[in-house]
């Protein structure tokens, strides 16, 4: 799915990422663990094509998008990627249905298709009957379901989730992680950033990030 070679990122003198090498196979469920400030979010911004200012090479499906123009990048993000954020990042004045529909506004799907796709994911995440509700009328878990539905409505190849359970209690976290596991079973590749080892256990593989460096196992970090 993706291959990262010697990626580095600096903010002035501060080194956010250094010599990152990572490969993720199609259909894999990868967890990236690390404390806050370790560079997790910086790394997934690069993987999610949200940040193009880095050194090294990043190939998504064997293609580098480093020199790609902004409009085409938007299209790739819309077609191939889906994002789930820690604080849900829903549009507060829009209904559940309208939030989920956002990625479809910018894709070239027909209107009838769009409706079917939205209805389909609403069922998948178990939000039937909540279509017209505003996010503020939903619980944290339900809001994160809306965010997941929005991330998968375009049927992306890769889902990037940044602390998807960070704002949820443990029971709700389990529900959300079960949805991710189901999605992964249907072939969707997932990269998830978390600081919670219980959540990371849902993934097939976990890598660790510390002070901008990536490690394959926890022991290496402690060295």
């Amino acid at each position: 799915m993706l291959k990262v070679t010697n990626i580095g990122k600096r903010y002035g003198k501060f080194i956010a990422l250094e010599n990152i090498n990572l490969e993720v196979a199609d259909g894999e469920f990868l967890a990236i663990m690390g404390p806050s400030g370790s560079g997790k979010s910086t790394l997934i911004n690069i993987l999610g094509l949200l940040d193009q200012k880095y050194t090294g090479e990043y190939l998504l499906k064997d293609k580098s998008y480093k020199e790609t123009n902004d409009n085409y990048l938007s299209k790739i993000r819309g077609d191939q990627l889906g994002f789930v954020f820690q604080n849900f990042k829903l549009l507060t004045t829009y209904s559940v249905y309208e939030n989920i529909e956002v990625p479809l506004i910018y894709s070239k799907q027909k209107q009838t298709n769009k409706h079917a796709l939205v209805e389909d994911v609403i069922k998948k995440v178990g939000l039937e009957g909540k279509e017209k509700n505003l996010p503020s009328e939903l619980s944290g878990g339900q809001q994160q379901r809306v965010a997941i539905a929005r991330a998968i409505v375009n049927r992306p190849n890769l889902i990037i989730a940044d602390e998807p359970t960070g704002a949820l209690d443990s029971k709700t976290s389990t529900e959300i992680m079960n949805i991710f596991t189901e999605l992964n079973k249907t072939g969707t590749t997932i990269i998830m950033v978390t600081h919670d080892s219980e959540v990371a256990d849902y993934a097939m593989r976990t890598v660790y990030i510390h002070d901008g460096h990536l490690y394959d196992d926890e022991k290496s970090v402690k060295k």
Partner: protein, 384 residues
Amino acid sequence: MIDKIMMALKSIDKNKNRNFLTMLGIIIGIASVICILAIGDGFTHVATKGMQNHNTKNKVTLEFTASSDEDTKSGFTRNDLAVLEGIKGVDHVKLTSSNPEASVTVQHKTKKTSATLNKSPKKLKLYKGFGTKVDAGDTGNIFISKDLADRAFKGKALNKSLVINDNVFVVRGIYKIGDFEYRPDIYVSKTIFKQLFASQISQDEAKISVNPSASKKAVGKSAVNEMKKFGEDAKLGKYSISHPDQISKSFTKTLNNITYFVAFVAGISLLIAGIGVMNVMYITVSERRKEIGIRRAFGATAGDIRNQFLIESIVLCLIGGLIGILLGYGVVSIINSFLPFKAMVTTYAIIMSLSVSTGVGLVFGFIPANKAAKSPLVGLLKEE
């Protein structure tokens, strides 16, 4: 596109009060422009209507201009009339005078002065004396202007005698001439005018009625040529075609220019309204950084974001424009009950107002919309 407009309406609805206050500038600006244009158009319509009455479709006016300023007698003769009526395409011809007054010399005691003279109108308001007109058959009485009374009689003219071209008349009434009024110095009866003065007035206009099948232009041209050849006074002056429609056109143009200038001045308030729109759009953009980030992450291009805010700004201004037009319409209906003519809201004024509102939205929305489009994505996603 409809979904984008709906999206814009929704965002505008979210901050109703703020957006309404912003719109108020547009509303007042557009309403004033509508009112000014309506008054201007109404006045132009009334002012040119009179001209158009003289300018009936199938008429050509042939004019004679004497070479000498002092020559007041030459013009079209009866023979000329026959020649003109013989031209192909001419239905009939009427001879008239551009200045139907006679110039005369008047004398009171030994004092001589020149004056203009005409037949009495049907009704005249006198300043001194009795009656409202000089009767048609009256051969001895006249009315004179206060100005002439002052000049010839030092004011005391009533019931005194006045000699006009060697004929003696008695002044029975004195009238005042208003500032915007035109009247001759002396009014005589119809009979006296015909007997003594009509021959002095040259008939220097020939009003030619053209058959509907004939061309006005061609008839006018041959009339000029015929008169050059056969006109009895051809050597004393020039013949030409007058174009009253051109005069009314240039008059309309001048009036329109004045109206547009005043409307433009009112339109300056729209500039200030536009700055208000720009300000509110800046606020909107900075308030919705999170939304911009989300949309960009899920596939919106910078152009999509720019268009979203641009459409919002245009929709805001268009709503303001529409309310402004309605308000302008209302104000015009009210002022119509006070105006001596009818102010008219034309389709042109409505189309122009809508275009101006769209323009204001586009121009003043562009910079904030562009700012939204160009914000760096990573920073936007950090917003909560």
